[in-house]
Symmetry: C2
């Protein structure tokens, strides 16, 4: 159901290059997964997502269980056929929505009740139903239900979330039946190293196909994230893929790859693309700015994406100024290409541990979120 091979390691860090072989194809790692929450990468057709270099995408079981309903997707033979994407898919369980929709959820030991943000109806999610939904959706990789506390959770709260996450992971493990799906568990524990270590150790004892790091990218600093990973990753088995959920900016990805992470997902390329913000190797461009009004060049010199091949910065700016959908479509497309290009260069350079070259080619990977600046 999942075969993970490490091809090369950086002798000077924990970075590794590998391949993840899944029922719907091979994924080169470190990999970045574009987000298709509701069975669609926003504004981008599956063929266009594939052309960007993406080999796996993420969808969300919580959202799909609400609409169109897991049973509808199952009638179509699963998510791949339903959405016209025949490469690997990973579904998140809905654990993150326990955090992001906190005002609408009620958590007990048994599970989570969501009051729908759409129509007020209740959706009940427990470890068994989270797995049952994901088995109906049919992704290549499915995730255990976890409890993700807020980024500023104190020790007691973080500890409580770890206990529940571990118990729920065990229940998911027992509920999981489809042999053609790989189940990954999620390590919680906030910024507390002992909690992270304890959570990781107990999950590893249960033997999952891979291990995700949850509860980061929820408000903590870059430095905190790096510190948590530095302590946590060595507690995870080297031969299993490691997935850092919801991350992130190029700087975060670079640091996490060096800490030994293999998989990433993030809304930034598409969300920023919709908001006229383009990633380039040297920084981000805010395309609504007047400065782009007459710029004839592409978003990024040398980029082979459909936006850069055919359109000027001035035209892309015009599209946003007049609110034409092609603006969000084209800049999202560029950003997906940018992220895949960045990951491909990371994979290229891992065997030699050539981080100086990465920083020379992608100065953006030295910039934090607040520092992102026009090229």
């Amino acid at each position: 159901m999942l075969r993970f091979q490490i091809i090369a390691r950086d002798p000077a860090s924990h970075a590794r290059e590998g391949t993840l072989t899944l029922p719907h194809g091979v994924v080169r790692t470190p990999a970045f997964m574009p987000i298709g929450t509701r069975a669609a990468v926003k504004g981008i057709l599956p063929d266009q997502v594939r052309e960007s270099g993406a080999e796996i995408i993420l969808a969300n079981a919580y959202h799909l269980a609400q609409r169109p309903g897991a049973e509808v997707v199952a009638e179509f033979g699963g998510l791949h056929r339903f959405m016209g994407w025949d490469s690997p898919i990973l579904t998140d369980s809905g654990g993150y929505q326990v955090f992001s929709l906190a005002g609408l959820t009620r958590i007990t030991e048994e599970g989570v009740t969501f009051r729908s943000h759409l129509d007020g109806r209740c959706l009940y999610l427990d470890p068994c139903s989270a797995i049952a939904i994901q088995e109906r959706l049919g992704a290549d990789i499915i995730m255990a239900l976890d409890q993700c506390p807020p980024g500023d959770a104190d020790y007691a709260l973080a500890s409580q979330a770890v206990e529940r996450t571990v118990r729920w992971a065990g229940q998911c493990r027992r509920a999981h039946q489809r042999a053609d799906q790989a189940l990954m568990a999620i390590v919680q524990g906030g910024v507390y190293h002992d909690l992270r270590a304890s959570c990781a150790g107990r999950l590893v004892d249960m033997d999952f196909a891979g291990y995700a790091v949850g509860g980061l990218s929820v408000g903590e600093t870059h430095e905190q994230m790096v510190e948590v990973l530095g302590h946590l990753v060595p507690a995870l088995p080297a031969e299993r893929p490691r997935y850092l959920m919801g991350v992130g900016m190029p700087r975060d990805i670079l640091a996490a790859v060096r800490a030994g992470i293999d998989m990433f997902d993030c809304v930034l390329p598409t969300r920023n693309g919709r908001n006229a913000c383009a990633f380039t190797a040297t920084g981000t461009l805010k395309l609504r700015n007047e400065q782009f009004r007459l710029q004839q060049g592409p978003l990024e010199e040398g980029c082979a994406c459909p936006a850069c091949r055919k359109f000027s910065r001035a035209y892309l700016r015009h599209l946003f100024v007049v609110r034409e959908m092609l603006g969000p479509i084209l800049v999202s497309t560029h950003n997906l290409w940018f992220y895949q290009r960045f990951m491909a260069r990371l994979r290229d350079l891992i065997p030699g541990g050539d981080w100086a070259t990465i920083l020379a080619e992608f100065p953006i990977a030295a910039l934090g979120r607040g520092e992102a600046r026009p090229a």
Copy 2:
């Protein structure tokens, strides 16, 4: 600048099949022009528009003069390069906006002052500036500035609009300099046959590259439209292309082709597509309807468009229900393909005057706007 060749005629109606040779390519007629008002067909990349079979698109000089400004487009060598569409383009002058933005315009003998619907700034358009703007935009076909009265205009108002339209057409004719652009004039006159005849006669005396029929599709009935065309078209020279502006539903197009019209434009395929309404040969589908929740088939059997090749009705419905941009994109794309397929069959069947086949293949062409029904 414009060569129009008639290839075949229907012996039993005024329909003709032809080719329009323009600086940026050849357009087969009768032709349907998708709308790219602001230098973008909403949600559809130029390559995708071309793949639908479209050979010419329409953009709007009034809107482009406001944003990004004709001078910006000119800096890019014109609209073709600015928007990445290298096939023919027709620009409308802004005359229609005199009608559609009536509350914001002030019309005098000299020209029209528009208070911008965006920021309150004034844009002044007179025959000379309408031509100057369109020369900067650089479309293959440009339109004279006309005055389009409301659909319910009385005789006096319609007559006044004709007089002004004729005078402005003459001024446009004299202002027009670029030899690589074809200038068409617009016939007004409401539903009054003598006004239409008088307007047509005087414009024909000035010798334009083609003649458009304006002031239809502004509220009159299908039968009124057909009657106006029946009287008017014979007054236009047979060897010049005839363009019915803003039309329309397949039934309107079929009737107009039989009356001798060669060119059409309409927002329906893209506007309806954005609103979850798909055209099929047998009627329209309102995709938000519950009935499509589990339908595995494509929008239309046998359609080769990207939406029908890869996606089910159920998936497309899902996209609209969860407000994913791919819904508008895919259904707009299908509708563009539908319109081009319809035009291609009209061209095929004109030589034999085989209207029974058209109605058998496209029952939608017997349905009026209000009657459009799910297939």
